[in-house]
């Protein structure tokens, strides 16, 4: 196992989220064991680790969905932090006649939906759908959306919260490679535009190496934490995944861009 925190954290980093000794036990089994980590403000932080490492559990603790020991500090831009959440997949009844417009409005509109969606919320919903390049989906039923389309609608919903912190659980799950790449590029642009902090769980290393600015390697404990080129080393990855990953070559990573064996890095466009 790699040494914890091989690259000491810079004390000047402003934390959007600080996990302090988070432990979660379920049915006598330890899921998280004293996890302490920091999500720098304005960063795109990725939590990586093998199956069963406790990645989603850490997110659920952050969202107050489960009981845990320890403390989690979330700092907002002004007072209490607003969290936008994009779940891995939305388990729902696909036969439900709920339009994307209604879906985006129902958390904000006090007037019941049977009186229709308020005009200003319709316009706002359309603006956010345009932002995530999904304006054509406004009138569609959510049950008729593909995995990638649903991800964009969920992202639009999360952005409508005007979040200080955007939490994404496996944003690339159920999306094809092209869709995933576009989704992550979109997130990068939006983060720069809106200034939120992005925290995502992923076990897709090419996505992480391309898009994350900060990485937390988790395997029940924090195995390593820091910028991708310092954390995604052969030694760390072998330690947390238990085998040689062969995807990331940290020695060839330039200053702010990584080099990987993912298909997107093999073509001339990204070479």
């Amino acid at each position: 196992m790699a040494a914890t925190d091989p690259f000491p954290r810079q004390p000047t980093v402003v934390a959007a989220v600080r996990f302090e000794s988070i432990s979660v036990t379920r049915d006598g089994v330890s899921i998280l064991d004293g996890v302490s980590a920091t999500v720098p403000k304005g960063s795109c932080t990725a939590i990586i680790g093998p199956n069963g490492a406790g990645k989603t559990t850490l997110l659920l603790a952050l969202l107050n969905e489960i009981t845990y020991q320890g403390r989690i500090h979330v700092t907002g831009n002004s007072g209490r932090a607003r969290i936008g959440y994009v779940p891995q997949r939305l388990a729902f009844d696909r036969g439900m006649p709920l339009t994307v417009n209604e879906f985006l409005a129902m958390g904000f509109q006090k007037k019941p939906l049977w009186f229709g969606v308020r005009g200003d919320l319709q316009r706002q919903g359309l603006d956010f759908l345009t932002l995530v390049k999904a304006e054509h989906l406004a009138g569609r039923r959510i049950g008729a959306l593909s995995g990638g389309e649903m991800q964009r609608v969920l992202l639009a919903l999360a952005l409508m919260q005007e979040p200080d912190l955007l939490v994404l659980d496996e944003p690339s799950a159920g999306v094809d490679f092209q869709g995933e790449h576009i989704f992550c590029e979109l997130l990068d642009d939006l983060r720069r535009q809106k200034g939120f902090t992005q925290l995502m769980v992923s076990h897709d290393l090419p996505t992480v190496t391309h898009h994350a600015t900060h990485v937390i390697c988790l395997n029940r404990k924090v195995a390593a934490e820091g910028p991708p080129r310092q954390t995604l080393t052969d030694a760390n990855l072998t330690a947390i995944f238990g085998m040689h990953m062969g995807l990331v070559n940290s020695r060839s990573m330039p200053e702010d861009k990584t080099n990987c064996s993912a298909p997107c890095c093999q073509g001339p466009a990204d070479a």
Partner: protein, 288 residues
């Protein structure tokens, strides 16, 4: 107690059928016109929350509630809804704090309630006769105090619907997402379970234990086939539920029919459902 005669006179005026000139029919119609919209709105949530089994468990606790009232010399019309409310809240508490699946939790309550009711009834054979009317329902015996209780429940329920309809849809879709986006999930779930229990108990008196879930589910299922949005689903469910109740009551009182009111209401509702099945097909054909 307020005089409901003007309401009955209005019903007789709007529905000028021979059968609707009798007071007990006017009372039954008033009860159904209050119950049907509540069943329709609740049915939408029951379908979205996948809670048909929950309403079944509540309705089957009616026996135990009535039996307890008869044993302790209390009015069963009060012990039944109170007992149903306690069972509904009990199921919700256990669902929220247990790792067991919802179906398992409800199944345990369901079995316990039926067994408890049967055990009490088996001690005194005369109780079985009283319980039979709850098995099949009897809206024709509804009294003015019961109609006033239903009216009070209607006002509370519709207020809750106006305030919470959107949030309940959100929770039905995904509770974690709703919670992350600042919806008070626990409070809404408890209020929903309490109101659903009370409505189920009143619906038991109208259509009986055997058909109460149908009164909730069938109009909502019909609306699903027809509606293109969550907003329009509400109105379609209302239309299906109210017309089923009105037609069911009138048809059941005709000489050529003379059928049980509850069963007739559900049959009309099922008729609407069959009609609604054709609508998506017609839409597809028109689009192609």
């Amino acid at each position: 107690m307020p005089d409901l005669s003007p309401l009955y006179a209005l019903i007789a005026l709007l529905l000028p059928f021979d059968c609707m000139q009798a007071r007990f029919m006017q009372q039954a119609m008033a009860g159904l016109l209050l119950l049907a919209p509540m069943a329709a709105a609740m049915g939408i949530m029951v379908v979205n929350f996948r809670m048909a089994f929950f309403s079944d468990a509540i309705s089957h606790s009616a026996f135990a509630g009535v039996a307890l009232g008869l044993i302790f010399s209390l009015d069963p019309n009060w012990t039944m809804p109170v007992f149903g409310l306690l069972v509904g809240l009990g199921i919700t508490i256990l669902q929220r704090h247990s790792s067991l699946s919802n179906d398992t939790v409800i199944g345990v309550f369901f079995s316990a309630m039926v067994a408890f009711g049967l055990a009490i009834v088996s001690r005194d054979r005369s109780l079985a006769r009283d319980l039979q009317r709850f098995l099949y329902g009897d809206i024709l015996t509804i009294s003015d105090p019961q109609i006033l209780c239903l009216l009070a429940l209607f006002l509370v329920f519709m207020t809750f619907q106006v305030v919470s309809y959107n949030h309940l849809l959100y929770i039905g879709l995904n509770p974690s997402l709703a919670r992350a986006h600042r919806v008070r999930v626990a409070a809404q779930q408890y209020i929903f379970a309490g109101l659903l229990s009370l409505i189920v108990m009143f619906a038991v008196q109208a259509v009986g234990v055997l058909l109460v879930t149908a009164m909730l589910i069938v109009p909502a299922a019909t609306a699903r086939n027809v509606a293109r949005s969550a907003g329009s689903m509400f109105w379609w469910a209302m239309l299906a539920s109210i017309t089923s109740a009105v037609l069911g009551l009138i048809v059941s009182a005709q000489d050529w029919a003379r059928t049980a009111t509850g069963a007739t209401i559900i049959l009309v509702a099922c008729g609407w459902f069959l009609v609604s099945l054709a609508i998506p097909v017609l839409r597809r054909e028109r689009a192609s």
